[in-house]
């Protein structure tokens, strides 16, 4: 693998006495779909937010596309090509669906007309075209998740970061969500997704990185990762690991 698109080098994050991430080094290559998984409280969301630029790490550095972005604000990272969705959806509730997406499109389009055209394309791509003129607050939850993805895609990212965007959906909705993520990757966008529901992500991702108690536990092919004794014990407790 040549230089990775995204790399964290020895990242630590402390919140007072709590260590949310300790010495986490991961890398994501261009064109990959990488799953960041782990049980609740493993530090997935913290690492995710460090990469997105919500807060700087206590220690360590984050590199994107060959640049050190450790202390770069979120908006600038977006301009570089990092886009994200939120675990708890953060739609612009009083704006229409198309207007939500236009906000994202404006970072690459100076003219309103171009931004609007781009936004329509993205809505079409995400299967939300028929909802364009609805207010975001009138969407059903699965549509709101799609809107999060659409808005992020409108920024024309190199790396799309999905924070549990398939969690809490009905099996059918999750299926079409998975199809959408595949479609996104086909357009050349790298995907890093946080999930804690293994069944959904494992068939989808090329590589899985497992966090537990703030540390990187294992990484590798999803089929290998799920059989790894340490992963099983992290999820199910030691008793089950012995049997494996």
């Amino acid at each position: 693998m040549s230089t990775p698109l995204l790399e964290t080098r020895g990242v630590w994050q402390r919140f007072g006495g709590l260590i949310a991430n300790s010495d986490v080094s991961i890398s994501v290559g261009a064109g990959e779909i990488v799953g960041l998984i782990g049980p609740n409280g493993a530090g997935k969301s913290t690492l995710f937010n460090l990469i997105a630029g919500v807060l700087p790490p206590t220690q360590g550095s984050i590199w994107f596309d060959g640049k050190d972005v450790t202390h770069m604000p979120a908006a600038e990272r977006c301009a570089l090509g990092i886009a994200r969705t939120f675990q708890v959806v953060k739609s612009f509730e009083t704006m229409t669906v198309i207007d939500n997406v236009i906000v994202g499109a404006l970072i690459r389009n100076d003219k309103m007309r171009d931004a609007r055209r781009k936004a329509h394309e993205v809505l079409e791509f995400c299967g939300l075209a028929s909802r364009a003129d609805k207010l975001a607050r009138d969407l059903i939850p699965s549509e709101k998740r799609r809107l999060e993805v659409a808005r992020a895609l409108a920024t024309e990212p190199k790396l799309l970061m999905l924070d549990e965007c398939l969690t809490g959906l009905t099996p059918l909705e999750a299926q079409s969500g998975v199809a959408l993520v595949r479609k996104v990757r086909e357009t050349g966008v790298t995907v890093l997704m946080v999930e804690h529901v293994m069944e959904i992500v494992m068939p989808l991702v090329d590589r899985a990185i497992v966090l537990n108690l703030g540390k990187k536990l294992v990484e590798g092919k999803p089929t290998d990762v799920v059989r790894h004794p340490e992963v099983i014990s992290a999820y199910l407790g030691d008793r089950h690991a012995v049997g494996a």
Binding site: F86, I140, T155
Partner: protein, 327 residues
């Protein structure tokens, strides 16, 4: 042409039609008292439109816009009485000074969120009031009497007729409306609405939240100061009590809140209802009823926030006022 472009074109045509009607009204209404109310209504419609840019679109509720109003009034009056500078330049100068001060104040206060920001705006405006109240050069508590030098457009003074003020207020109102209309479909307009609805999401989409707020504050303060400069010429006497009190801050915010906050037509609709109402009650009840207009504002706020949080414009939309049930 999509529905969006159609709506914008419709708004523009409606605005032009209303402006023409408003321009014709003085031919039929000769009563000076009523004309006076019409001037104030147009002025507050414009001021509220200016307030709405920061408070409505960008979601930064300011209850201290009297500061910018007063700065516009004082800059114009001081430049004219001390240096003989024509009010038009004073107006422009006041606008620029207000915009700069809004930026300077925004630098610390835009780090505050929600109620803390609102409180900061009230306190800062109060400080401004006290400064002018004690500033001898600017007449302190006595204020500034703008000397009458005869009716002229150059000096923007008219003693015999209110009509020139009426037409200026009308143009001011149209300009403020048009700026808002134009901003609605601009990068800034979209950034502001995104910042209002969810600053974290906006930031993640490349919107620099802080700069967006600063931009809104500068435009809003500039326009508000133009209104202050106009008011100084209109009443030809200003003191801190008459241009910088909290009441003015409220009067700029309320029409927008009443009509529909963050909407294009809200401030105009709100001003047309609220300003005549308060002026009329004030004159009917007279000296004994001082403060009744304030009670009215209070009542309006309570009723609106309970019954129509979206403002009166919500009555015309098909959506229910409260959070709708997803279909």
């Amino acid at each position: 042409m999509d529905s969006f472009t159609q709506r914008r074109r419709r708004d523009l045509i409606l605005a032009a039609a209303l402006a023409v009607i408003a321009a014709c009204v003085p031919f039929f209404v000769k009563d000076v008292y009523v004309q006076n109310i019409m001037v104030l209504t147009l002025m507050y419609a414009a001021l509220s439109q200016a307030w709405n840019i920061l408070g409505g679109y960008c979601g930064q509720i300011s209850l201290g816009h009297a500061l910018y109003f007063g700065l516009g009034a004082y800059t114009t009056a001081l430049l004219f009485t001390k240096f003989g500078v024509l009010p038009w330049f004073g107006m422009l100068g006041g606008g620029i000074i207000s915009a700069l001060i809004a930026l300077a104040l925004g630098y610390p206060t835009f780090r505050l969120r929600g109620h803390y920001f609102v409180i900061a705006t009230i306190v800062i405006a109060e400080i401004g009031f006290l400064l002018f109240h004690n500033w001898d050069y600017a007449g302190a508590a006595l204020g500034i009497d703008i000397p009458v030098r005869g009716d002229s457009w150059a000096k923007f003074q008219f003693t015999r007729s209110k009509l020139p003020f009426y037409y200026f207020a009308l143009v001011f109102c149209c300009v403020a409306w048009f700026i808002t209309w134009w901003l609605e479909d601009s990068k800034w307009g979209f950034w502001w609405r995104a910042v209002k609805d969810n600053p974290d999401a906006a930031e993640s989409l490349g919107v620099v939240v802080f700069n967006s707020k600063m931009g809104a504050a500068a435009v809003s303060a500039f326009l508000t100061a133009i209104g202050g400069a106009f008011y100084a010429q209109f009443v030809s006497y200003i003191d801190p009590e008459s241009v910088m009190t909290f009441q003015f801050s409220l009067l700029m915010a309320l029409p927008a809140v009443l009509g529909g906050i963050g909407t294009l037509w809200g401030p105009v609709l709100g001003a047309v209802i609220l300003i005549p109402m308060t002026e009329l009650t004030r004159s009917f009840i007279g000296g004994s009823g001082r403060g009744v207009d304030l009670i009215l504002y209070g009542a309006v706020i309570v009723v609106i926030s309970l019954a129509r949080p979206d403002g009166l414009l919500g009555l015309f939309s098909r959506r229910p006022a409260s959070k709708g049930v997803p279909q």
